[in-house]
């Protein structure tokens, strides 16, 4: 009897709070992808997954069963349950932020690819270690080329 309880609890959580379980899973998958995958574009995909998990969290937490939008007509009485619109607004803003981050990240990827011809971090690290053996790195090497 006693060892049934935790399983039952877990099932209960899955049945009623499955959105939060998905949120946690997506968060962890996204984070793992960013850490473990050596490919930069896949890291950015992982980042998107990570952010999507957070959007899901906000939307799921804002859902109220039987609630209605918080618009009250003038003179009319408010509905029984009104839903706070703030989480949706937050998610909209966060989506915009996420899109611009993805754009900047991909732009940087393009530049890295044109410079080194690869997007794998291990290959990039090797290429940069070689570059650092040269007398000067970064901005100096450009000055040297010009001179």
């Amino acid at each position: 009897m006693t060892d049934h309880l935790p399983i039952q609890l877990a099932l209960d959580v899955l049945a009623t709070r499955h959105a939060y379980a998905v949120f946690t899973a997506l968060l962890c998958i996204g984070l793992y992808m960013m850490i473990a995958n050596p490919h930069l574009v896949k890291k950015i995909i992982g980042l998107n997954l990570f952010q999507t998990a957070i959007f899901l969290f906000f939307i799921a937490s804002a859902y109220v069963h039987g609630g209605s939008i918080p618009i009250v007509e003038s003179g009319g009485a408010p509905e029984a349950t009104l839903v706070s619109p703030l989480p949706q607004v937050i998610v909209l803003t966060a989506i915009v932020v996420g899109v611009s981050l993805t754009a900047v990240g991909l732009a940087l990827c393009v530049r890295i690819y044109t410079e080194y011809g690869t997007l794998r971090t291990d290959a990039l690290r090797e290429a940069m270690a070689e570059e650092d053996d040269l007398p000067a790195a970064g901005a100096d090497s450009q000055g040297g080329e010009r001179a």
Binding site: L31, M34, L40, K43, I44, L47, F50, Q51, I54, F57, F58, S61, S84, L86, P87, I90, T93, A94, V97, S100, L101, V104, G105, L108, C109, R111, I112, E115, Y116, L124, M128, E131, L134, P135, A136, A137, G138, A139, D140, S141, Q142, G143, G144, A147
Partner: protein, 540 residues
């Protein structure tokens, strides 16, 4: 009237950021003038805000408050300027103006850079002034996005890689912060900082959602502050970024994240929350202590100047986080003074490093060999700033560290053994700082061919009291005369050692002003207490 300045200080730079791109097609060099006009007007606004807060007295007990769109607390978004915000706004405005003087000479150039620069300035103003948790997230991301773009502004592959590393880590940081805000919002139903103060107290400091929310916020912001072991992005970003960008972001970006942590800890969660959750403060103190130690040790091992000072930032921000977690009045005052003072010192140091690289091609500690004879005043300024970072009195570096250490000892006296650990770690860190600053001094004054001890000694003394007009002309003159002989005296066949052979006057004047301010503020110990006493009184 003065409350209208708060939205203006944010909106003006963000709107101005569109002009260089809009007008760029027609006028090639429109970026710098637009940025300069904006920066000067921001300095004026910051001065007025500071005057209202510190001299005249703020209109409400929370400082200057502006409700955006006239929506009242807790429904609308507020902008608030109290003593701490006003001080940070002044720092942001001054450093932004100083950066422009530098970037005019050493680049990066182009209208896109100035758009990014203005957006970043607006974002930093926003972080300093906002009174809303989610609004803070938006400004954090504005600052983040523009910083990623600026780090990669010199269009090299290495800086793009450093930037994307920063982007991935920084975005995770901001996202974790957002989760923390979400948890807090779920528990309380509010996002307004002042309103949350009482709302969190009503829910209870032991509530799991509140605790988890704070933990997520601390970890998220620690990624942005670059506390060990979450600092990995920072040395690469500082090293690979263009020199002028490094000076700007090293002075302000991590500083603004640390400010956000301080603000959220004390205004939103309050000191009672820290007192009720010993495990959280102990974890913060542990991370801060390790950060102080490891940051200093790694800094002492670096050969690249920008990397060296980047790791030094990891240690200094460890001290600030420790001051936040110690949660007594002395330590918090130390944290505030060190937050502002470190921003100023790092701006000066990275400015000096940028000028050394521009004038003499010196990027590594070894490249500095006997540069003091060719550039006595520039070297003198860098050394004075370095010693201020160590904490030699009188300097703003000493003031911050002193109050933090004193607060740590006070905490130990009040029965918190972690305080003693922080004080000990800070002492060790100071020794490490002395070690790497001494290495720079040794290279500048005593290394290289034909060391004349009397010669080096006299230039040390001369450099300590630079007078501005003489300083620029004299540092130029020997440099130019020595320049042709330089390849012969150079001990290493190092391609990096090519410079313009002189130091731009405008940027040098900024460096001297920063140096004099950093030393002068060292005398302002009691003034600092008087200035921030109302803030400390409200927080603790």
């Amino acid at each position: 009237m003065s409350d209208l300045l708060l939205p203006l200080a944010i909106v003006v730079p963000i709107l101005a950021a569109t002009f260089p791109l809009l007008l760029g097609g027609r006028y090639d060099r429109i970026g710098w003038p637009i940025a300069a006009v904006t920066a000067v007007s921001l300095v004026g606004m910051a001065a007025w805000i500071a005057r209202t807060v510190f001299v005249v007295g703020a209109p409400t007990e929370y400082g200057i408050v502006h409700e955006l769109g006239g929506w009242q607390r807790p429904y609308g978004i507020e902008l608030v300027a109290d003593e701490l915000s006003a001080a940070l706004v002044v720092l942001v405005a001054l450093v932004a103006a100083g950066t422009l003087v530098l970037s005019r000479v050493i680049g990066p150039r182009g209208n896109a850079f100035y758009s990014g620069y203005l957006l970043l300035t607006g974002g930093l103003m926003g972080i300093s002034l906002t009174g809303d948790l989610f609004n803070l997230f938006v400004f954090l991301e504005i600052v983040g996005l523009t910083t990623y773009a600026l780090v990669a502004a010199d269009r090299s592959g290495a800086s793009a890689y450093a930037s994307i590393k920063y982007l991935l880590v920084g975005t995770v940081g901001a996202s974790l912060y957002l989760i923390g805000v979400g948890y807090t919002f779920l528990a309380t139903g509010s996002l307004n900082m002042i309103d949350l103060q009482s709302a969190i107290a009503a829910v209870g400091y032991g509530d799991p959602l509140i605790r988890a929310g704070y933990a997520f916020i601390v970890v998220g912001l620690s990624l942005k502050i670059a506390v060990f072991p979450l600092h990995v992005w920072q040395p690469d970003a500082y090293q690979r970024a263009p020199d002028a960008v490094t000076a700007f972001i090293a002075a302000l970006v991590s500083t603004s994240a640390a400010y956000a942590l301080l603000r959220i800890t004390y205004t939103v969660f309050t000191v009672e929350f820290l007192a009720a959750n010993g495990a959280i403060t102990n974890a913060m103190l542990l991370a801060a202590g390790v950060s102080i130690l490891v940051g200093s040790a790694l800094a002492a091992m670096q050969s690249d100047l920008k990397r060296l000072f980047a790791y030094s930032s990891v240690a200094q921000f460890g001290m600030i986080v420790a001051a936040i977690a110690l949660a007594n009045e002395t330590a918090l005052l130390g944290g505030i003074v060190h937050l502002l003072g470190h921003g100023l010192l790092k701006f000066g140091l990275f400015l000096g490093v940028a000028l050394l690289a521009y004038g003499y091609g010196a990027r590594r500690v070894a490249d500095l060999a006997s540069l003091a004879r060719r550039a006595p005043y520039l070297s003198g300024a860098v050394v004075v700033l370095g010693l201020a970072l160590v904490g030699i009195p009188p300097s703003v570096g000493l003031l911050g560290k002193w109050y933090i250490a004193l607060g740590a000892v006070e905490a130990a006296g009040a029965g918190d053994p972690a305080g003693l650990g922080i004080a000990a770690v800070m002492l060790v860190s100071t020794l490490f700082t002395l070690a790497y600053v001494a290495r720079i001094v040794e290279q500048l004054y005593f290394a290289g061919a034909d060391p004349g001890p009397g010669d080096a000694g006299s230039s040390t003394h001369a450099a300590d009291v630079p007078t501005q007009p003489n300083a620029s002309t004299q540092s130029d003159a020997p440099a130019q005369s020595d320049a042709p002989a330089q390849p012969n005296t150079s001990t290493q066949p190092d391609g990096g050692r090519e410079g313009h052979g002189d130091v731009p006057t405008g940027a040098f004047v900024v460096l001297v002003v920063v140096t004099v301010t950093a030393v002068g503020l060292g005398f302002a110990g009691f003034a600092a207490y008087d200035l921030f006493e109302p803030f400390l009184g409200r927080m603790i």
